[in-house]
Point group: C2
Chain length 292, copies 2
Amino acid sequence: MSTPLSVGFLGLGAMGAPMALTLARAGFPVRGFDVSPRAGEVVGEALELLPDPRDAAAGADVVVVMVATGAQLHDVLFGERGIADALGPDTVLLVMATVGPQALESCAQGLEGRGVRVVDAPVSGGTARAATGDLLVMVGGAVEDVDAVRPLLDAMAGNAPVVGPRVGDGQRFKVVNQLLCGVHIAVAGEALALADSMGLDAAQCLEVLSTGAATSFMFEDRGPRMLQGDQAEVRSALDIFVKDMGLVTDAARAVDQPVPLASAAEQLYVRGRREGHGRHDDSVVFDVLRSR
Amino acid sequence: MSTPLSVGFLGLGAMGAPMALTLARAGFPVRGFDVSPRAGEVVGEALELLPDPRDAAAGADVVVVMVATGAQLHDVLFGERGIADALGPDTVLLVMATVGPQALESCAQGLEGRGVRVVDAPVSGGTARAATGDLLVMVGGAVEDVDAVRPLLDAMAGNAPVVGPRVGDGQRFKVVNQLLCGVHIAVAGEALALADSMGLDAAQCLEVLSTGAATSFMFEDRGPRMLQGDQAEVRSALDIFVKDMGLVTDAARAVDQPVPLASAAEQLYVRGRREGHGRHDDSVVFDVLRSR
């Protein structure tokens, strides 16, 4: 086996930390950076933490970016301590954050002329699967660039299909994923809220309807947390879907595609945030729809 | 075993015919009626067909009604050849049609004074499961009335939970089921249409996303038919969801429950019917969303 790829990993949050640790455990030398000093508590000694993102990126074969928003991606590249100048033709920039096609294409354009190779690889699967290297990674980019980062993808993902040749295709595929997830969570809340309003036993609805044509992964996953109410553990914050349904409707508008259901779901998430539920588990949409 | 219940079965359409045949096969004497003379071609010699619904209902222990709409249910009971006068305290009226809580409650009120016992038992599962006696039946009604028809339910259903004590609770439960099914079909079409519009491979989206958090029963069931386009076999007509999403929004309005996703889905089905797709497979919503 040849020398393992050296990795700079920027963004060690709820998803980034377990992903970086998975890479380190697989034998890749990883230098990490996060804006929060608390990242060190999570990743411990398993990888080298640096106080400046440019130092984490310098000389790395692959720079992985796992931030939360397009604005953060832009800042990582072109901000005050932006890493763009540390990148060159020998580096692959592997963007695993969910930022939407427009933000990614804009950043890739900003890197043109430096010869940086960009691979677009957002993920799905949550923190548990991040920790076990079992993510779904949706990969967009040129074949040779994807091949160059394949060992990292294999370490982090249970499945990492190439979904298109363009940088942005991974984001587009993730947008389709989020459209389905965001609508399925919202409609699970709507169905259980209607059951409750009509005087039915919502728990029986969940139990009976989970076995038939009405079910979805999200109905079975979020349904029990909806019925727990305030006791529900925060596994995925509502704020994430405020952001991601915004990416869905932005991406759809860019290709003149009406998405009436995604749009209705987006409004529910926005309303939930306004009512103070942004950091609550996204299953809170059930309560948002029941409020009187 | 005591003498099997005698059955009058009104409505021998796509669902009613296999349900009536299942009862006949299980040993119940069934006398049937349908407005269409073609019903005889389907049920053959297995049950006794009568030309007047009143004769099919007269003297039966249980009269099953499996029509398509609330208006048809009203006509069966109180129309020109309505069976209401043939019913009495010794009869259980077993309404298995999906007509919504309001229509059923209205008909039950019209029968008050005759002492007729009504059980509300709409079904889910499609024609194949109707033929094998493996339907999901959602049962609302008084315990003693449900007990009286339990042998019939056991013959037709794989699962027939009592979901509430009121006549109308079965319809309410079915409304929750249809809300989920109708939205899941519509959002499957919306997601695949967006994938296509963004230049992704919709078939790959279906394949990859079916394995993860974005999936639903309907995404996996209707998705392949969506991608077949005009070649798709008609398994469930779009018209059914025009009717059923109307029942959903009616039932929700009656309890002041907002259902923004169901409402958005309803508009898609209505638009599909206006564009001439009422009798096409409901997977045609994919084409409705792609139309330019």
